[in-house]
C-alpha cells in the first residue's frame, strides 16, 4: 500500500503505452501530482520530450509528436481538450483522466474529435498528491478551497466534491474496496462518509472488481484534535514544514542569508533521496549526528587533487564521478536545511517555548487532584508570554494551546492582556476564542477524542504512571489522539458507538467488531499533519501485517491551520 508507487505506476503506464516521441500535456492539478512522483529524467527516458499545459494556446504544431494528455475531468480541462481536438497540433492523442469521466463528457469529447486522432481514453486514478509512501493529501489550500460554508457543520459543496473524488481515487489507486467508518461526533465526517458510499454505489463495477481487496476507510475530523497542528515539531520532515514550509515537495530557502543560488529552492522527496528517506522521522539531535556522518562520508569519497596519480585512481574517479556529484548536491542541501533550522531554533528560543507547549498539551484535564499543577502551568505560560525574546507567533500559539487545554480558566483574560502588550493584533485575540469554538465538536467536552472510553480513573492512573516513569523526551512527549484510535482499530476493538460503520458496509463485508483489521486508510477532514504521519508510519512498522495510509485535505503546519480557522469564521461561518 504505497501511494507513491501507485502514482508512479500510473505515470509509467501513461507514457509507456505508445512508442515514439511524445508530448505530455497537463493541467494545473495534475502538474503537482505528476511533479511529486515523477522526474524529468524519467520522462526523458520514456521519450517524452516536451511537457506543457493544456491551457497554453501558444504551442507549436508538431505532427510528428504523439500527445499524452493527463488531466482532471473538470469543466475547464475538458473545454481545453475540446479546443485542442478541434484544432489539433499533434499527430495522435492519448487521453488520460485522473478521475471518473461522466458519460456526457465522453460524448462531448467524441463529438469534438473531428479528425479522429484520439487513440485511447482511459481513467488513471491518480487524483491526489503523494507526499510519502503512506501519506497523501489533496492539495486543498486556502484561498482556493474553503472547507466550511454557512456553519462549521457544513461542507462547502465544491470542497466536498473534490474530497470525495480524491479519497475515492486514492482507494482505487491502492486497489482497495472501502469499508467505511466515520467519527460519529463529527457531522463533517458523517457527510463525507455518506457521499463516498454514494459514489461507491454509483460506480459499483469499478469498486467491486475482482482485483479489489477490502480495507477500512476511517474518516476522522481535525476538529476533534486541534492541538497537534499547533505544536512545534522536532522530527526532520515535520520540523522543516513547521518552520520553513514544504509545498509540493519544495522548500523555499531564498530568504536565507548567504544561500547559494542553486539552493534557493530545494527538493525534499523520500523516493529520490536516500539520506532523507532514512532520516525524515529522526529527531533533531539524531539528525545532527546523521548529517555529520554524511559529511564525513562525502569527504572520504571526494578525491584529493594530489591523489589522482595512478591510472587506477583516475579510473576510480571517472567511475564514481556522477555518484559523487549527486552526493555533493545532496549533502549541501541537507546541511543548508539543518543549519537554517538550527539558526531559527536558537533565534526564537524554540526549545524553551516547545517545552512549555508540550507540558500544556499533555497536561491532563480530568484529574482535579492535579489542579495545583494547573496553576504552575499557567504561571509558566505567563512567564513565556512576558519574555521579550519569544516571537509574537509563538506567544499566540502558547496562549491558544492553554485556552484549548482549559477554556474556562481565569487566566485567559490576563493572557490576552499580555498578548496585547506584545503587539499581537486584536484580530488574532478574537481568533483565540474561535479556536476553542472550532474544537467544540461534541458538546462541552472541549477536546473529545472519541476513543473507546477511558474512564476518569483510568486516565488518572495513566497520568500517575507517567509521572512516576518520567518521559523519554520532553519535546516529543505528545501523542496525537489519532494514534490511540488507530491502535484500538487495529486490535479490532474500536467501539461502533463512537465510530459507526456506514450502512451497507461493515458487518456484511466481513468486518464485524472484534476482527483484527489489516489495511486501513485514514482520512482526516480539515487536514492532517506530519506528526500524525510519523505515528502512522511507526504503527505500520511495529505491528506486523498492518498497513496504514494517512490522507487529508492538506498537510497543516500551525500557520496554515490558524489561517483555516480564521478564514472559516471570518468569511463563511455565521458568527
Amino acid at each position: 500500500m504505497n501511494v507513491v508507487q501507485a502514482a508512479q505506476g500510473y505515470m509509467a503506464k501513461m507514457v509507456g503505452e505508445s512508442a515514439g516521441m511524445k508530448v505530455l500535456l497537463l493541467d494545473p492539478d495534475t502538474t503537482s501530482t505528476v511533479s511529486s512522483v515523477c522526474t524529468q529524467s524519467f520522462l526523458l527516458a520514456k521519450e517524452v520530450y516536451l511537457v506543457d499545459r493544456i491551457g497554453n494556446k501558444n504551442r507549436d504544431k508538431m505532427a510528428h509528436l504523439k500527445c499524452v494528455c493527463f488531466c482532471r475531468p473538470t469543466q475547464e480541462s475538458i473545454a481545453h481538450i475540446i479546443d485542442e481536438l478541434k484544432a489539433p497540433k499533434y499527430g495522435e492523442y492519448y487521453l488520460y483522466f485522473s478521475n471518473v469521466l461522466k458519460k456526457l463528457q465522453v460524448e462531448k469529447l467524441a463529438e469534438a474529435d473531428e479528425h479522429e486522432l484520439v487513440r485511447e481514453v482511459q481513467e488513471c486514478f491518480a487524483d491526489y498528491l503523494a507526499i510519502n509512501s503512506d501519506l497523501f493529501a489533496l492539495d486543498m489550500d486556502l484561498p482556493t478551497w474553503p472547507l466550511y460554508a454557512g456553519t462549521l457543520a457544513d461542507w462547502d459543496a465544491r470542497a466536498l466534491q473534490r474530497t470525495v473524488d480524491g479519497l475515492a481515487s486514492a482507494c482505487l489507486a491502492l486497489k482497495k474496496r472501502p469499508v467505511i467508518r466515520y467519527a460519529a461526533s463529527s457531522p463533517h465526517a458523517k457527510r463525507l462518509a455518506h457521499e463516498l458510499g454514494y459514489l461507491m454505489q454509483q460506480e459499483k463495477p469499478l469498486f467491486e472488481a475482482r482485483t479489489m481487496t477490502p480495507a477500512t476507510v476511517l474518516i476522522v475530523d481535525r476538529r476533534s484534535d486541534p492541538v497537534t497542528p499547533l505544536l512545534n515539531q522536532w522530527t526532520y520532515q515535520a520540523m522543516v514544514h513547521e518552520v520553513l514550509g514544504i509545498h509540493h515537495g519544495l522548500v523555499d530557502l531564498s530568504l536565507v542569508d548567504g544561500i547559494r543560488d542553486d539552493l534557493k529552492t530545494v527538493v525534499l522527496a523520500a523516493h529520490d533521496d536516500q539520506f532523507y528517506a532514512t532520516n525524515m522521522y529522526a529527531n533533531f539531535g539524531d539528525l545532527g549526528v546523521a548529517i555529520k556522518a554524511y559529511l564525513d562520508e562525502y569527504q572520504r569519497r571526494t578525491p584529493n587533487k594530489a591523489a589522482l596519480e595512478s591510472i587506477a585512481d583516475m579510473k576510480k574517479f571517472v567511475d564514481e564521478y556522477p555518484e559523487v556529484r549527486r552526493l555533493a548536491g545532496n549533502v549541501s542541501k541537507h546541511v543548508a536545511l539543518t543549519s537554517e533550522l538550527s539558526r531559527i531554533v536558537d533565534d526564537e528560543r524554540l526549545l524553551d517555548v516547545s517545552e512549555v507547549e508540550q507540558n500544556v498539551a499533555c497536561a491532563d484535564t480530568s484529574a482535579p487532584a492535579l489542579l495545583r499543577s494547573d496553576e504552575a502551568l499557567a504561571e509558566s505560560v505567563a512567564a513565556k508570554l512576558r519574555d521579550p525574546l519569544v516571537s509574537g507567533e509563538s506567544k499566540f500559539k502558547l496562549a491558544v494551546l492553554f485556552a484549548l487545554h482549559n477554556p474556562r480558566s481565569p487566566h485567559l483574560a490576563s493572557f490576552k492582556q499580555l498578548l496585547a502588550d506584545a503587539a499581537v493584533s486584536p484580530m488574532k485575540l478574537d481568533l483565540m476564542d474561535r479556536v476553542v469554538r472550532y474544537a467544540t465538536i461534541a458538546g462541552p467536552a472541549s477536546t473529545a477524542t472519541g476513543t473507546s472510553a477511558t474512564t476518569g480513573l483510568a486516565q488518572f492512573g495513566k497520568t500517575v504512571m507517567r509521572g512516576l516513569k518520567g518521559v523519554e523526551n520532553v519535546y516529543t512527549q505528545h501523542v496525537p489522539p489519532l494514534h490511540s484510535v488507530l491502535e484500538t482499530l487495529v486490535r479490532g476493538k474500536l467501539k461502533e458507538s463512537a465510530y459507526p460503520f456506514l450502512e451497507g458496509t461493515g458487518a456484511s463485508n466481513g468486518f464485524p467488531e472484534g476482527v483484527r483489521v489489516n489495511d486501513v486508510i485514514v482520512f482526516m477532514c480539515g487536514g492532517t499533519t506530519f506528526e500524525e504521519a510519523r505515528f502512522v508510519h511507526q504503527l505500520s512498522a511495529s505491528v506486523p501485517g498492518v498497513r496504514v495510509v494517512l490522507g487529508g485535505n492538506t498537510v497543516h503546519n500551525s500557520q496554515s491551520f490558524l489561517k483555516q480557522i480564521y478564514d472559516a469564521f471570518a468569511q463563511r461561518v455565521a458568527s
Binding site: 516536451l50 510528428h64 469529447l109 463529438e111 482511459q122 488513471c124 486514478f125 489507486a173 527538493v267 587506477a312
Partner: protein
Amino acid sequence: MATRSRTALFVQCRHQARADAASSSSHRAAPLEKQRLIFRDDSAVANDNDHDHLALDMPMPTLPPAWVDIVDDVDETMGRIQHAMTYLDGLHKRHLLPGFADDDDDDGTGPGGGTGGGGPTVMHIEATTQNIMAMLQTCSRHIKALERDYVPTASPDGAPPTYQASQVHKNAARRLATQVADLSSQFRAAQANYLTRLKSRSAAATPLFSLSDTDDADDVPLTTNSSSPAIPGASLATVSATDTTAALIADRDREVSALVQNLADLATVFRDMQTLVVDQGTLVDRIDYHLDMAANHVDRGNVELDRAIRYQASATKIRAIYLLVLAIVAVMLIGIFRQRG
C-alpha cells in the same frame, strides 16, 4: 492500481457523432448538393467518407525534422551495444570457467589457469570489446553532432526557431546522452569485474613470479587486451626468461599506452555526456520547474516585445528632436550669415 478504459465508449460516441453530422449535413445541403459534388471531384476523393475534406484542411508539417533520423540511428546502435554486451558477458563467463590447461591459443594464462577446451578465444573477446568501444564512440559522435549541428533552424517563413522546437531537440539529445553514459559505465563496470576475476584466478594459479605487480599493469581497467594483464608473470616460468621479459615489457608498455588512450577517450565521451545529463534529484529535474520556465519564457518574450515597441516609438521621437535641433541650428547659421553679409 486500478484503471478503466473508456476507449470503447468513446469510439462508439464518435461514430455516432459522425453519423449524426453526416445525416444532418446531407439534409441541410440539399440545394448545395451540386457544389459539394464539385468540391469532392476536385479533391479527387473517391469515396463517400464525409470527413475526408476535413482531413485535407489540416495544413500541418507532417514530416519530422531531420535530426530525428540521427536519434533513430543512435537508438539502433544502442540496441546493438546492448546485445553485444550481453554476448560479451557470456564470453567472459565461459572464459573464466575453470578447465584444463590444454588450450594453446596465445592466452598467456599459463599453467593451471588455462581455459577449457573450446572456450572463447581471447581474440574473439578482444574483437567484441573493440566493437563495443567503437560503437560507443560512434554514438557519442552522433550525439555531439546532433546537439551542435542539427539545431532547429528558422522555419521557412523566416520566423526564428520556437522555444518548443528547441526544447524538443535539446531533450532528445539529453535522453540519448543519459542512455549512452549509462551504457558506458555499465560496460566499464563489467570490464573491471571481469579483470579482477581474471587476476584473482591467475594470481591463485601463479605464485612464482610477481612481475605483474606494478601499478600500471594492475589498473588495466578498460577494454582491449583483456587477457594480457597481470598474467605475464605466469608465462615466465620458462628458461628463456630474459627474452620473454623484455618482450613482455615492451608489450606491456604498448598496452599501457593504448589503455591510457582508451581511458582518455572514454573519459572524453563521459565528460561530454555529463554536460547534457540532468542531475537527478535536483530542482532542474522537476517537471513543474520546466513548466514555469516555459511560461516565464513566454512572458519574457512579451516583455521584450513591449520594450521593442517602446524603443521603436521613442526612436521616432528622438529622430524628430534631432531634426528640430538641426533646423534651429540651420536657421541660426542663416541668421548669422545674413547678419554678416
